[in-house]
């Protein structure tokens, strides 16, 4: 096993971590495991792809790559727009599906099932619109440059990791230092009591959806940039996301990121040692071990 395994794992783990933050936030504040979260990742990637290629066509087609990266100016612009649209999609799904179920006081498990149905509809909608053939943001080839310690990485991969770490730090500050963050933690703690204290729970819930889906979109675009864009990309990430959210401890943003990196590195080590065909089972093994040994995760609270 070479140090390169670690680099590959960190790149994959950064994307898993970003997705897991959304899972962990919806889980701690809305109190259900959202099986549709993976689809926000896919939708984010496809929306960015559609916007980027539309921008490219509108402005004459020839978009030059920025600096060492494989993509041109259209992708960052598309990313911002896609984050907004994906957040809108999540809010729309909530308004149509989860909101009414919540108001009716449905059992947690009904919400989980509804998210399962929504996931299927959303995923196949992508397949209907974009077909199932893989897409790419860019056809540029990139050379992996040495980054020290015997590891190599492409500029895109380094950018991905940097953006993920900056976002995690920002979200962590938002949760710990702002009034909105305090409200979110209060609602996670006890929605009724938070309501009595004058916190608008609906606003908090909207923020959670927008934040989670926005991060999912970023993760999807990153995954599309360094791997590829497929309708199943979100579904394939779902199990690693859940494993990371539970390993990190439900509700903990730094925990989700750290656990995402752990899951990513474990996956790439498995690929190197056992074989690529077993990659998808790694998350399940990690999940089983956490549930057996420490169900509340690394940074979760008991109960």
């Amino acid at each position: 096993m070479t140090p390169q395994v670690l680099m590959d794992g960190v790149v994959a783990g950064a994307m898993i971590g970003l997705g897991a933050i959304g899972i962990t936030l919806t889980y701690s504040i809305l109190r259900f495991a959202n099986f549709a979260h993976g689809e926000f990742i896919s939708w984010g990637a496809y929306l960015a792809l559609a916007i980027a290629s539309a921008l490219g066509t509108l402005t004459g087609g020839d978009v030059q790559p920025i600096g060492p990266f494989s993509f041109g100016w259209t992708l960052p612009v598309a990313l911002v727009l896609a984050v907004i649209l994906t957040a809108g999609l999540a809010l729309g799904v909530d308004a149509l599906l989860f909101g009414p179920l919540r108001r009716r006081g449905s059992a947690v498990i009904i919400l989980v099932m509804a998210s399962f149905g929504a996931a299927l509809a959303l995923r196949n909608m992508i397949e209907f619109i974009f077909t199932s053939s893989p897409r790419y943001f860019s056809t540029e080839l990139q050379i992996a440059a040495p980054v020290g310690g015997g590891m190599r990485a492409t500029p895109d991969q380094l950018l991905t990791v940097a953006v993920a770490l900056i976002l995690v730090a920002a979200i962590h500050l938002l949760l710990t230092r702002t009034a909105m963050g305090r409200s979110m933690r209060a609602v996670a703690e006890n929605r009724q009591l938070a309501g009595l204290a004058g916190i608008d729970a609906r606003r908090v819930i909207r923020t959670v959806w927008a934040l989670g889906a926005g991060l999912a979109c970023v993760a999807g675009v990153m995954s599309g940039l360094v791997v590829q864009i497929r309708p199943e990309m979100g579904l394939d990430l779902l199990l690693p996301l859940f494993a990371a959210a539970i390993l990190g401890g439900i509700g903990s943003v730094p925990g989700a990121m750290l656990a995402g990196l752990i899951v990513g590195v474990a996956e790439s080590m498995t690929v190197a040692v056992v074989g690529a065909e077993w990659r998808a089972a790694v998350a399940f093994v990690i999940l089983v071990v956490i549930l057996l040994v420490r169900p509340r995760g690394l940074f979760g609270r008991a109960g």
Binding site: A33, F35, I109, M113, A114, G117, L122, F284, L292
Partner: protein
């Protein structure tokens, strides 16, 4: 005419194998409230175990052991019960949706194992030459179809009667009590964890049996048959039919399988060949939206759960007499 009837037999047999899966899911979800997102994996376990036990010896996979079909079915049920028991034991004490996540992971991993353990399962090539019940009649499609339908219908009927009886038994009532009010049931000395685990494994056994029945009916299995879409179809069947109700489970499987088969036939007839994959995904979108719509507007399904319990409790409360001073009541 015979053709149409033969197709009818085929359709109903297929629908009833799904009906068996639905009955298993109903034990887990309808009666116990355990959310299983790994149905496809558990059905696959049953299908593979029974296939390996009963196929003639082959170089492309483990075995086969050439055992009688009945042995294969029993083996399938037992093996799947064991797998579901283990998954359940891992998560049933924890939060309700951890079970959902764990079963989802189990299904992914089972599919992966089936695909990758090529010496055991035949890998992507699957298992063929699975012996079919009434193989002696294979030359006469009509009789063959009728006999197979009769067999599956008999299995469904036996399971239905057994499960109905079980639901009325002390075990079934304890299960329902735990689902409705865990604390109260525990105060009466019923161990929620043990009952849930038993129900989960029982449901798993039924799903394994269904997988076996399906495999022997079709005669060939491959990992691709056990995608998450299967899980989803079964859920749609139970929710449409009405969870908690065994008749609903069977009715739902026939209705949903009917809609599925009809729309698939419609797509292959109307949509041009290069667009069929697209149209098929729209088919799944429709079912996904329909499931959400039912959860929103008609959570009880076509036939809801029959209320069981002491009759006097179901009647509107009669005005109580004021207690007499002497205190007799």
């Amino acid at each position: 005419m015979i053709d149409i009837l033969s197709y009818g037999f085929f359709f109903l047999t297929m629908a009833l194998t799904y009906g068996i899966v639905c009955l298993g899911l109903n034990v887990q979800w309808g009666q116990t409230g355990l959310f299983n997102v790994g149905i496809a994996g558990f059905v696959a376990v049953g299908a593979y175990v029974s296939s390996l036990l009963t196929t003639p010896e082959s170089a492309s996979h483990l075995g086969g052991f050439g055992l009688p079909i009945a042995v294969g079915w029993v083996g399938a049920a037992l093996a799947t019960a064991l797998v579901t028991f283990l998954i359940g034991a891992l998560t049933i004490r924890l939060r309700a949706d951890y079970l959902a996540i764990a079963t989802f992971g189990a299904a992914v991993s089972i599919q992966l194992c089936v695909l990758n353990f090529q010496p055991v399962t035949g890998g992507p090539f699957g298992v063929g030459f699975i012996p079919r019940p009434f193989a002696a009649l294979a030359g006469r499609p009509f009789l063959f179809g009728a006999a197979n339908l009769a067999l599956i219908a008999a299995v469904v009927a036996v399971l239905y009667l057994a499960l109905e009886r079980l639901a009325q038994s002390p075990w079934g009532r304890a299960l329902k009590a735990i689902r409705e009010d865990e604390t109260a049931a525990q105060a009466l000395g019923k161990s929620a964890v043990a009952f849930r685990l038993q129900a989960f494994a029982l449901g798993g056994a039924i799903m394994g049996l269904a997988g076996a029945a399906q495999a022997h009916f079709i005669g060939f299995i491959a990992p691709d048959n056990y995608q998450p879409t299967l899980t989803f179809q079964v859920w749609a069947m139970l929710i449409v039919g009405g969870s908690g109700n065994n008749r609903g489970a069977i009715l739902g499987s026939v209705v949903v399988w009917g809609i599925w088969a009809l729309s698939a036939a419609l797509i292959s007839a109307v949509v041009p060949a290069d667009q069929q994959a697209r149209a098929a995904s729209l088919q799944i979108v429709t079912i996904g939206v329909a499931l959400c719509a039912i959860l929103l507007w008609r959570p009880r399904g076509l036939i809801g759960e029959a209320r069981v319990g002491a009759r006097h409790l179901l009647r509107p409360a009669a005005p109580r007499k004021a207690p007499t001073p002497s205190g007799e009541n």
